[in-house]
């Protein structure tokens, strides 16, 4: 006898609220929010999770992820997360930060949370610019890339070079998992989901700091259509920011 009851194959994760997001068309924040919510559901940790909202486009993440949340000052999420985790070691503490927040003003906080092996998880959105303030140069902006504040393109002599955060953190002993992923096609979405899960699992297992860098599009500030933006990401970002697991991958 075959089982005739319907089983849903795809539905809204429980940890995702029923609210339309404010993100621009073609922006990858929405996909990453969903993946994070799916992993929270799968691991059954919604009632233990506290998410640190950053300053940047995802400042309102607590409107979309249905968990406890603290909204932090620009770049300080890993420090606030540290305070919460030390006070409540049983909770699951996640920071969600963009490249302005994490790789510019918050460099000290992320490096030291990582090197302490703080039992927290960080999702790092790299879209090569400051999105919310209108597309200024970020530390991750590519050489030659035009932004609001590099109208002639990023020139190394004036603006220095892009920073590879995952590779930098991978030199430290504290991180238990470091990976760079992308979400521009289904195969990569699946890998990104696994990476986010792994970065939270190392926290649950008390192994150390978990970090996932997600290469993301910013069609609005890049001045491209969503489809063009995906192509631009593949052609320009991946050569500078190669995908892969840097710490804690399959042995």
């Amino acid at each position: 006898m075959s089982d005739l009851t319907y089983k849903p194959l795809y539905q809204r994760p429980k940890a995702l609220t029923m609210v339309p997001t404010h993100y621009c068309p073609g922006c990858h924040h929405g996909i990453v929010h969903r993946l994070l919510a799916e992993v929270i559901d799968e691991l059954g940790i919604q009632e233990k999770t506290v998410i640190m909202a950053p300053v940047g486009c995802s400042v309102l993440i607590y409107n979309y992820l249905d968990t406890d949340s603290v909204e932090c000052a620009h770049g300080r999420a890993p420090a606030v997360a540290t305070g919460i985790k030390r006070a409540r070691p049983d909770s699951i503490v996640i920071t969600y930060q963009g490249d302005g927040d994490l790789a510019a003003i918050g460099t000290a906080e992320i490096v030291h949370a990582a090197t302490r092996g703080e039992r927290i998880t960080t999702i790092f959105i790299n879209n090569t610019n400051f999105g919310m303030t209108g597309g200024q140069m970020a530390p991750t902006t590519l050489i030659g890339q035009k932004t609001e504040t590099t109208p002639y393109g990023r020139i190394p002599e004036r603006n220095g070079y892009p920073i590879r955060v995952s590779e930098m953190l991978a030199t430290l002993t504290g991180p238990a998992y470091v990976a760079r992923v992308a979400v521009y096609n289904p195969a990569n979405v699946a890998k990104a989901r696994n990476a986010i899960k792994r970065a939270i699992q190392v926290q649950i297992e008390g192994k150390g700091f978990g970090f996932v860098e997600v290469l993301s599009t910013c069609p609005t500030n890049w001045g491209l259509t969503p489809v063009e933006a995906v192509k631009w990401l593949q052609e320009n970002m991946i050569p500078v920011y190669p995908l892969g697991e840097f710490v804690g991958g399959k042995e």
Partner: protein, 353 residues
């Protein structure tokens, strides 16, 4: 009765905090108060707490925000340049309505300044300090014993208003050894549960702690709500001491270490038949008004003495207005008054009768 122990101010501050139920300390080294962190790093693990050295004062105050947002009694201590770095975090803690205690053992500034004791952070402490409309209750001890007593007050007031409290002392109080008695002992497990805290929404609606509100009308509402708390604090948290004020004609106004020195000068002046007295604000914010109302009819003139270039004098002016002359003597930069220096000031005022 609890026994009296000889302790250094900074260590007594730390033990006071622990006895007040504080179990989380985050800080960054800076002279002249490093013994607070040293003591905490030794003692907190013994009582199931956490001492963590942040990578900066900026990180440390945000760790305090995190631990306090998780519902614990958390604190930091620092000295002037470090407190400047913490102002961003303090403003967020106020906006988020989270209780916390910050101790500032003030040293001379501006810039790196020096490491000598000073009172030059009065403006910063009493006018908010960071961005936005807000105040901290500011407690200014003048002895190590009072520092100990005020540590518990600080945590209680912070919890009562869900607002940070600042203890403002100086390097003399941090470094001086005095016999102290701990008259309290709070088991953090017995403190009322903080239903607004984060840590996982298990069996309750989720909690969101934030200072952001992009709708101006809502932010205004939030700010008026904060102001209501500050009004309540103005009414209920004012503390001061009056010393030989019953018949005082020359009224000294000093806080902290200077007040302690001034008492000696006043005693000497009294021996010479001069009717001098002291108003010592213990809360620098809210600033006491009542002792000035009481003093004004008898007082001939006021003398403000501070280890800065003249900061509290502005609050004294607000109380005295032009009703009486106000004299000022300041020492900015880390030097300290002697009792005879202040006595001389009193004698000069007496001559100008």
């Amino acid at each position: 009765m609890a026994e009296r122990i000889l302790m250094k101010g900074a260590e007594a501050c730390a033990e006071g905090a622990i006895k007040a139920g504080c179990r989380f300390f985050f800080g960054y080294p800076i002279t002249p108060q490093n013994e607070v962190a040293g003591y905490m790093s030794r003692r907190l693990p013994e009582v199931g707490g956490v001492y963590l050295q942040g990578e900066s004062e900026v990180a440390s105050i945000n760790m305090v925000l995190g631990a306090a947002a998780a519902g614990t009694r958390a604190m930091t201590s620092s000295s002037s340049p470090g407190i400047s770095l913490m102002q961003e975090g303090i403003s967020y803690i106020v906006g988020c309505e989270v209780p916390a205690v910050i101790v500032n053992f003030v040293r001379g500034g501006p810039g790196l300044g020096g490491i000598g004791p000073a009172q030059s952070d009065y403006f910063q402490a009493t006018r908010g300090g960071g961005h936005g409309d807000y105040n901290l209750v500011v407690l200014a001890p003048s002895t190590v014993q009072e520092l100990v007593d005020l540590m518990k007050e600080a945590f209680d007031i912070a919890d009562r208003y869900r607002n940070p409290v600042m203890v403002l002392a100086d390097g003399i109080i941090a470094q001086m050894m005095e016999a102290v008695e701990f008259k309290y002992g709070v088991d953090p497990a017995t403190l009322p549960a903080k239903t607004w805290a984060v840590g996982g929404a298990s069996g309750r609606p989720r909690n969101i702690i934030k200072s952001l509100d992009l709708v101006p009308e809502n932010l205004e509402k939030h700010n008026w709500k904060l102001q209501e708390k500050f009004s309540l604090a103005r009414k209920n948290e004012v503390r001061w001491e009056e010393f030989m004020m019953e018949d005082a004609e020359i009224v000294l106004v000093c806080f902290g270490t200077v007040a302690r020195i001034a008492k000696k000068s006043i005693e000497e002046a009294r021996k010479k038949g001069i009717k001098a007295g002291l108003i010592r604000p213990i809360t620098l914010w809210p600033f006491p008004e009542e002792p000035f109302r009481k003093a004004i009819s008898r007082a001939r003139r006021f003398l403000v003495v501070e280890m800065n270039a003249g900061q509290m004098i502005e609050d004294v002016r607000l109380q005295v207005c032009r009703a009486r002359p106000i004299d000022f003597k300041g020492k900015p930069g880390g030097t300290v008054f002697t009792p005879s220096e202040i006595l001389e000031l009193i004698l000069k005022l007496e001559e100008s009768k």
